[in-house]
């Protein structure tokens, strides 16, 4: 494909994303109560998590080398890639749970657009994600303000990229485990279990057993979605930072390979 062709394709998909996101927003205004309950449920969950952190820090002033505000910053930051990822890839849950099993997946193969894009576009701008992003920004902002965090220009430039890389990592983990359904028909339990382990990302990894820390860094690299970027922004630690683009790229490549292999394997039910 020539450079011009690539640019045209990119422009086309950007336009499509814009248009389909608009369609999703219409759905949002149509089912307002669903949106409110979804966002409210999310707020309650984060609220409980914040209460737990607050109560932990009533007993001690520092855990694992992190104080209250720094842990809040980490917790808030961990919500940003999660929210961004959820905005665009929530349909993966449906793939894992149902689409292969019911045979409905063929619908995504007969449209003149990339199947992965078509699949994801069905649930663009999932409402809960807005709650997650807004709370994440609020908590991060509050924590950064409370500890008078001054970012260097380089950190300021890198911060959005760190969120983006985190979102790509999360999306790749989701795609990888959802694609397993092409082999197992239903990979919901695997996807759910992998997602549960993501809960570890909201706290400093210094708390955990070294083997668990290793697992969260190199096997299911949730460390790179919050802990590594937050320790860079808060403490200026750069030890693991160079690995971030490498891990992101490798994981994305792995997820796309699994997805393509799975799609090639898929056979229509014929009914």
């Amino acid at each position: 494909m020539s450079a011009r062709g690539a640019a045209a394709t990119a422009a086309r998909y950007t336009r499509l994303t814009w248009y389909l996101s608009g369609v999703s927003l219409h759905r949002l205004t149509e089912y307002r109560m669903d949106f409110l309950i979804g966002a409210g449920g999310f707020l309650a969950r984060v609220g409980c998590q914040l209460l737990v952190v607050a109560m932990v820090f009533q007993q001690v002033s520092v855990i694992g080398g992190w104080d209250y505000r720094q842990v809040l910053f980490l917790l808030g930051f961990s919500l940003l890639p999660r929210g961004l990822d959820r905005l665009f890839t929530d349909q993966m849950w449906i793939l894992a749970r149902r689409l292969v099993q019911s045979g409905d997946f063929y619908r995504y193969l007969i449209r003149p657009v990339n199947p992965l894009f078509t699949l994801l576009s069905e649930r663009f701008l999932y409402p809960d994600a807005f709650g997650e992003l807004a709370t994440g920004i609020g908590i991060t902002w509050y924590a950064a303000d409370a500890m008078r965090l001054r970012l260097t220009p380089l950190q300021l430039v890198l911060a959005p990229l760190l969120v983006l890389c985190g979102a790509v990592i999360l999306a790749s983990i989701k795609t990888l485990f959802a694609s397993l359904s092409f082999w197992t028909t239903n990979s919901f339990p695997a996807l759910y279990a992998a997602g549960q382990l993501g809960d570890f990302a909201g706290y400093p990894l210094d708390l955990y057993q070294p083997s668990l820390r290793w697992l969260l860094t190199w096997v299911l690299p949730y460390a790179f979605t919050a802990y590594v970027p937050a320790s860079y922004l808060v403490f200026g630690r750069t030890g693991l930072l160079p690995w971030l683009p490498v891990v992101t790229a490798a994981l994305a490549a792995l997820a796309l390979t699994a997805w393509h292999r799975g799609v090639d394997r898929y056979e229509m039910t014929g009914s």
Partner: protein, 274 residues
Amino acid sequence: MSAATGLAGLRRYTPFAVGSLQTMLRYRSTFVVNAVTATTAVSLQVFLWRAVYNGDSGSGPGGFDRAGITTYVLLAQVLGLLHANRVDEEVSGEIQRGDIAVSLIRPVSYPLTRFCAGVPVSLVNVALVGGPVVLLYAGLLPLQRPGVGGVLLFTASSLLAMVIAFEVNLLVGLAGFATTNIWGIRIVKDCVVALLAGQVVPISLMPGPLAGAARLLPFAGLVDSPLRLLLGEYRGAGAAAGILAGQAAWTGAMTLLTALAWRRAVRRVEVLGG
């Protein structure tokens, strides 16, 4: 009603328990999910609280020492499994699909059938998921060894907790008559109940007003009461009896409340034919 007819009446409910058990054992992947969820939750809690009690050789905040707090958060998650009876999910699902109509014409009490279907789910989860998790942590970390009396009191208290959990979940499920988005309500319920029950933070470590409120509510009977009895966090036999009595009173009150809610719900039920 004589004892014999009472028993015969109860026997009508055994198929519901057996059926639910069979469903449970057929979908074994649920256990994998539950095991990962429980292990993750336990590990997070254990690491977090052990960092708080780092270096405390004697008793720290709330009267816990390191082994005590580890035992508490571990068993709190196991009790959480005991309470995960899926009743809220299944009742609201039946209401949404309209299947509730079929349940209404059966000559049995719907709440009782739900209870009988929920009990095996709870017990199997505790045995097949909770058991291994406890064994794993008992091998890894020092735990507090409870006395025989503590274990007996804990067992009695856990049974009451199981009934309270059923009633809470049934009430949430019945909310399906009022709203179709039960998913959001369940998320709120899950985290608020876990917090007020003392499942994520022991109530004795909460700030005064919150602890006071939590102790007054029925949710404390879910986790706080059984674990206080097990770990001996009370003064004298009278206090232990008081904890059990409080739980029993809430069990009775919640039973009345669910019965009332069920009667009102049935009156407003509307199912489209088809």
